[in-house]
């Protein structure tokens, strides 16, 4: 899986209230959630994002609430991948369960500037900064998580199990 897009920079400890404020949690419609993605950090964010763009954030991205609305909003507004130094654990699980690609890479986070054109090869864990002509390698995705991705997400895996059980 390869993605190409421009980088949007965010700082450390971006919590899920910042990704999607609770005042919009009275719906779970991805299109509706996408409109308000990152609104309290940058009110114009959802209008400026182009399909394929990439979020690059510092440590502990997605901390706080368990709301799956956060990765849903990110995915639905066109973001192809999130790169951070680290992810909060519930967000990490949710992203894999939903099929939102995420990568941990401190070097990329320290080097990428807002607007840089980035190409990500998820399978190989390689992040290319086309603007700066640099390349970074991310921590490989753990094999178990890779299996989840290959299965098409958690529910696809569960569905197969249910069929077998019948």
């Amino acid at each position: 899986m390869k993605f190409k897009g421009n980088a949007w920079r965010f700082g450390a400890d971006i919590d899920t209230d910042r990704i999607i404020p609770a005042r919009y949690l009275n719906t779970s419609d991805p299109k509706e959630l996408a409109k308000h993605c990152m609104e309290d950090a940058d009110p114009e964010f959802s209008k400026k994002v182009k399909p394929g763009d990439i979020i690059v954030a510092d440590k502990n991205f997605g901390c706080g609430s368990s709301r799956e609305h956060a990765p849903i909003a990110i995915k639905a507004c066109g973001i192809s991948c999130v790169i951070a130094k680290s992810f909060a654990r519930i967000f990490y699980r949710n992203a894999f369960n939903l099929g939102l690609p995420i990568l941990e890479c401190s070097q990329a986070v320290d080097s990428i500037d807002e607007g840089n054109l980035i190409e990500v090869d998820i399978g190989r864990g390689v992040i290319k900064n086309i603007t700066k002509k640099e390349s970074y390698s991310s921590r490989p995705i753990p094999p178990f998580m890779q299996e989840l991705i290959d299965a098409g997400g958690l529910m696809a895996k569960v569905k197969r199990g249910l069929r077998r059980g019948r």
Binding site: D17, N26, S65, S66, L154, M155
Partner: protein
């Protein structure tokens, strides 16, 4: 099973293994799978989408409509209807709304739905609260909940454990809230990332269940996967009249391994205040200067229990709140609501000028029942002070214990309870 922590023992048992080690990937049986009116609609959609006909066990799936209820708008009402229809269709035993609803993490232990030795998952980050009765309990997303509702199982990476040995005696007006805020201040909002936080020592043993729930509730604010306290006599007397299932008591072995061990002397601890916009921005109350406050909220899954209401009433007795202050008191469950009323606390709150809300998560997450305007400041006994958490993105939230909250409501600025209730002796 020697050399294991309480967390490893509970997970090993639920995975059908004799031993587990940190980093092991396991498939665990789930005793309780919890969802609320915000997270369950997505889970139910996923559950239906894969064609799962029945929940794995109708007595083990719990639905609590506590966040945007009583329904704050049409969209919220629609979400609640999804849960209600599902509960009817699946004959869910533990379904709570209306006059039965309380804030989920206060309600489930109170009703004995979660018991010591359980593995509990909840599509709510504060599910870690039940560690206080000696259960392994952690927050997940809606998709994990959907999978667990269908299969009764969940995958985990066995977490490393951090041990917090707490000694000394808590001073007057200092509680579990202050200890956990201090710990988060020391290790940071990702200081326990992916780890289990185990709290022990004489200071923990001296605490009531209510204070222990507060401590484990906020493990997530340090990034923790779970918080846990080994059951003791205090736990037993709490669960014996409530437990709906058999309790299993686990404790850590002497030879168990920890990724980190820290010691706290609680005798030195002062009331803590977490400044905007992260729970780690913790300061001693004596170091904060003059901070004017517009609204005080006493409630939430963190501090809406009986001890919290009693503590704030002790400060508020015979007092009036400051001009232009709004004080909102939210008893966490119907039982707490009733007891507070019978014990005369409502009279104290109402005479002071407080609003008493029905049990709801409401303002804690900026849902309803007390939203902040631009530039306003709240002091709350809740758990998070992120940007925009209780309303306008340019509002601020300070976190503290219920006694500090009460004193702040009286003074109109963040205040030490001693400033307001100097002559009141602790009962």
């Amino acid at each position: 099973m020697d050399g294991m922590t309480i967390t490893e023992k509970i997970l090993a048992r639920h995975a059908g293994l004799r031993k587990v080690m940190p980093g092991d990937l396991i498939e665990s049986n789930v005793d309780i799978a919890l969802g609320n009116d915000i997270t369950a609609p997505i889970a139910i959609k996923e559950f239906d989408r894969i064609g799962a006909a029945k929940v794995f066990n109708r007595n083990k799936v719990v639905l609590v409509l506590d966040h945007f209820t009583p329904n704050k708008d049409i969209k919220s009402a629609q979400q609640c209807k999804v849960l209600r229809d599902f509960a009817r269709r699946q004959k869910i035993k533990y379904y709570f709304e209306g006059g039965d609803v309380g804030i989920e993490h206060a309600l489930l232990p109170e009703k004995g739905v979660v018991v010591p030795g359980d593995v509990v998952i909840g599509a709510d980050s504060h599910t870690c609260t039940y560690g206080a009765i000696g259960a392994f309990s952690t927050g997940v997303g809606s998709t994990d909940l959907a999978a667990a509702m269908a299969t009764g199982k969940v995958w985990f990476k066995v977490p490393e454990s951090m041990k917090f040995i707490c000694k000394g005696r808590f001073r007057k007006w200092v509680s579990g809230k202050d200890l956990i805020l201090r710990i988060i201040g020391d290790i940071g909002v990702d200081g326990a990332l992916y780890r289990a936080m185990e709290f022990c020592g004489p200071a923990i043993e001296s605490l009531s269940m209510d204070s222990r729930f507060t401590i484990c509730n906020m493990a997530i604010e340090a990034g923790g996967k779970s918080g846990i306290i080994a059951p003791d006599r205090v736990t037993s007397s709490y669960v014996e009249t409530r437990a709906q299932r058999r309790c299993v008591i686990y404790t850590s072995d002497a030879g168990a391994e920890y990724a980190d061990v820290r010691e706290y002397n609680c005798s030195k601890l002062e009331p803590q205040v977490a400044f905007p916009h992260l729970p780690e921005n913790t300061r001693d109350i004596t170091d904060i200067g003059n901070i004017q406050i517009d609204q005080v909220v006493i409630g939430s899954c963190t501090n809406g229990r009986m001890e919290d209401l009693r503590e704030s009433a002790r400060v508020l007795k015979g007092k009036k709140i400051a001009p232009y202050m709004r004080l909102i008191v939210i008893p966490a469950t119907p039982s707490i609501y009733k007891l507070a009323m019978e014990d005369g606390l409502f009279e104290i709150f109402l005479n002071a000028g407080a609003v008493i809300s029905p049990p709801t998560c409401g303002p804690c997450l900026g849902g309803h029942m007390g939203i902040l305007a631009e530039g306003e400041r709240a002091l709350a006994t809740t758990n998070r002070n992120f940007i925009g958490r209780m309303g306008h993105p340019k509002s601020e939230v300070y976190l503290a214990n219920p006694a500090v909250a009460a004193a702040t409501a009286v003074k109109g600025r963040i205040a030490h309870p001693d400033e307001v209730a100097k002559k009141v002796k602790r009962g």
